[in-house]
């Protein structure tokens, strides 16, 4: 099962390495990981997406994360209502006007933005859940040649009152 774990941790040197090391050491798998300081600059917020075989593994993973001295809070997002977003930047090459129009159209349908153009290249920015980005990449591939893809990994937050605070 796919899980999204939010971690609030001290914004200190080595804290990220401890989390990544934990996943490697205990043979847990990381699909994506994002980390950045929060409004409180002494804290970092991390979102980890992972695939686990059962609930017990997920529980153990969360307990192990919490055991790290730098970690303040750990919470699982997919169990409740939540918002997850990922940012995609993609550079595509087009060879004719027809294709360029198709790229623009596809981009509009997906509510993407073209953030850079050259004569033959478009750079598109798109946010959404991972599946939406996957679908967009598939579609744009028909109308153009993909030159470069960069994805931020998932950022997630719980809906409603629930919050992960220091």
């Amino acid at each position: 099962m796919r899980s999204i774990i939010s971690v609030l941790l001290e914004n200190e040197p080595g804290a990220l390495a401890r989390v990544v090391g934990l996943f490697a050491q205990r043979a847990y798998n990381i699909e994506s990981l994002t980390v950045s300081p929060t409004n409180d600059l002494t804290l970092s917020r991390m979102t980890i997406t992972t695939e686990v075989d059962c609930k017990a593994t997920l529980e153990q993973m969360m307990k192990q994360l919490h055991k790290l001295v730098d970690v303040l809070r750990v919470s699982e997002l997919t169990e409740g209502a939540h918002v997850e977003r990922e940012l995609l930047l993609i550079k595509v090459r087009t060879s004719n006007n027809e294709d360029r129009e198709e790229v623009k159209r596809t981009c509009d349908i997906y509510r993407g933005q073209i953030v850079d153009i050259t004569q033959h290249l478009y750079t598109i920015q798109l946010t959404g859940a991972g599946v939406k980005l996957d679908a967009f990449i598939d579609t744009i591939n028909n109308a153009s040649e993909i030159v470069e893809v960069v994805r931020s990994g998932v950022c997630g937050i719980a809906r409603g009152e629930k919050a992960l605070r220091g």
Binding site: G14, G21, E59, Q60, K63, Q64, V69, V71, L72
Partner: protein
């Protein structure tokens, strides 16, 4: 405010933390700290012959006293030589602070001479680590390190100290922090009241309970509570290898060690129990055998201060997070308050069953006319020391035999590397214990394989006159490896035979110690008597034991807890 250099701050912070003994080895990156130590009269430093031994000494010092052990080493190889020692402490939850030198901050990352990324290398095996980037970081890093190492589930903490940070040229205001507060680290001590109520009700309702006591009980100093609870409810008690001594070895309710080399009665009691109450044990693979066949009818109650230990290998039906001492006291208070008790009739019936298993006398063994049996050696050691010695051990057959045949009276009397299984632990461990308790008899039970892994420390013993007794069960082979090869590898003794063991008597004498060779059973007791009478000398007793002896009972691989070999010819599941 007092002005100190970084190096002076290290030494003063340790003093202010109450550290009296430190184990280490100097080198280029810690010369300034060593210079500050030279000028301190409060801290006694022990120079080892290999850094791994320094960590084992500090580790055993901590196991024996309950205080935090402290190590100081230089950068690069000095630091990396500590890793095995740190793993050993980490696996057994022993509080340590390891101070390691580092190349100057402006050289870090340049592959400088004796540079090693100690923070990175040690990361998976420490509880936490600190890197001091300025001298002013030092007092707080040391304060936090001792706090983190010693609280919650204890463990080793590494502090990396770059050379320029220690510089005697620059002085900074020094004040040792009085307390420390970490928002991200708050161990739970007392148990959830509802859970405690439920746990007590389950315990009182159990017809076939077993109290399963692990090393966490010793760390939490919970022996008094364990004894009281066990006696009040007439519970059978089994100890893990790490828990030996937490409950008196000779107590009539003690059913012995459990697990791979546990007693018949302990393993059968576990398998047939209806309730297993675990106090500071972690259902390790050396205990459970095949988890799918583990204790099929038992409800599992588990107290542990570390939530990750709960339900890791075996699902706990009734988990309680907290200190063993505090939680058991809460249970005892509730028991007192409610005046509740368990059904003595069913407990008596359970004891009748257990006593029947006990009558099998699974630790009985055949003596021989020609060979000394390892069991005889440990029993003789128990007799001569009246059961009062601090016993350290290395890893292998001798370790299991010591655990089985020396019924430890008290906690912190049995010092061994349980989780990591580190050969070479025994001798430095004995030295650490002797430094902590100079007036108590300390003996290292070892094997001819293990002792050679840190034998250089005989030199440290000579330098500081640390009069430990070394009791070598010499079978001229790596006994446990050989046992497995005989049992499971068609008897092919691949590299488990040592045909070049040295003359240990001569070797001891080379270090100005006393060596005694024991070849026959009648020489054994006088040798041990003499060793413990000579209170100011290291005595190395080399006992030639039966090289063919195996350790039994032994659980059958992939079986349940009750599936055991009882001797070379008998097994329970056959």
């Amino acid at each position: 405010m007092e002005m100190l250099s970084g190096a002076e701050m290290v030494v003063r912070s340790l003093q202010d933390e109450g550290i009296e003994h430190i184990f280490g080895y100097p080198g280029g990156s810690v010369l300034d700290i060593y210079d500050a130590i030279f000028q301190s009269d409060k801290i006694e430093h022990y120079l080892v012959r290999h850094e791994q031994a320094a960590v084992h000494m500090a580790d055993a010092y901590s196991r024996a006293t309950g205080k935090v052990g402290c190590v100081l080493v230089t950068a690069g190889p000095g630091a990396t030589n500590c890793i095995t020692g740190i793993v050993t402490a980490y696996m057994d939850s022993i509080p340590l602070v390891v101070l390691s030198g580092q190349v100057p901050t402006n050289w870090i990352g340049d592959d400088a001479f004796q540079e090693a990324d100690m923070i990175g290398i040690s990361r998976p095996v420490v509880k936490h680590s600190f890197s001091c980037r300025t001298a002013e970081d030092i007092p707080m890093a040391i304060k936090k390190a001792f706090y983190i190492a010693s609280t919650g589930r204890p463990g080793p903490v590494v502090i990396d100290l770059p050379k320029d940070v220690q510089s005697p040229l620059h002085k900074f205001p020094y004040e040792y922090p009085k307390s420390v507060e970490l928002r991200s680290y708050k161990p739970t001590l007392s148990g959830h009241k509802g859970q405690i109520k439920r746990a007590l009700a389950a315990l009182l309702g159990a017809k076939k309970p077993v109290l399963y006591v692990g090393g966490g009980s010793i760390i939490a100093n919970a022996s008094k509570q364990i004894l009281e609870l066990a006696e009040k409810l007439n519970l059978p008690v089994t100890n893990t290898l790490m828990g030996l001594g937490a409950f008196p070895g000779q107590h009539k309710q003690n059913i012995g060690m459990l697990g791979m080399h546990g007693t018949y009665e302990a393993n059968l009691s576990m398998h047939n129990a209806d309730l297993i109450f675990s106090a500071g044990a972690r259902f390790d693979d050396r205990v459970t055998n095949n988890v799918d066949k583990f204790c099929p009818n038992a409800k599992i109650m588990q107290i542990d201060i570390d939530p990750t230990s709960i339900s890791k290998n075996i699902h706990a039906d009734l988990p309680i997070v907290g200190s063993i001492e505090v939680v058991l006291q809460q249970m005892l208070d509730l028991l007192e308050e409610t005046k509740a008790t368990n059904d003595s009739e069913s407990i008596n019936a359970w004891w009748d069953q257990i006593n029947e298993w006990r009558a099998k006398d699974c630790l009985a063994y055949q003596t021989s006319e020609t060979h000394i049996k390892p069991q005889q050696v440990i029993q003789c050691l128990y007799k001569v020391t009246k059961g009062d010695a601090i016993v350290t051990s290395d890893v292998g057959q001798h370790q299991m035999v010591a655990a089985q045949y020396y019924p430890f009276k008290e906690p912190r009397q049995w010092i061994n590397s349980g989780g990591a299984g580190t050969m070479g632990f025994g001798l430095p461990a004995a030295m650490g214990c002797k430094i902590a308790f100079p007036d108590r008899p300390v003996v290292c039970v070892t094997g001819d394989g293990s002792i050679q892994m840190n034998i250089q420390e005989l030199s440290t013993c000579m330098q500081y006159n640390i009069p430990v007794v070394i009791l070598l069960l010499n079978n001229r082979s790596l006994g446990m490896v050989k046992q497995w090869q005989k049992m499971f590898y068609g008897g092919r003794q691949s590299h488990s035979y040592m045909d070049s063991v040295p003359d240990f008597v001569k070797l001891s004498e080379a270090y100005n110690h006393i060596g005694i060779k024991v070849d026959t059973i009648d020489q054994l007791e006088p040798a041990l008597e003499r060793a413990f009478e000579l209170k100011d000398r290291v005595v190395f007793i080399d006992v030639a034991i039966d090289p063919e002896e195996h350790v039994y009972p032994m659980q059958v691989k992939f079986g349940s807890m009750q599936d055991m070999y009882l001797s070379k010819t008998e097994r329970t599941d056959a």
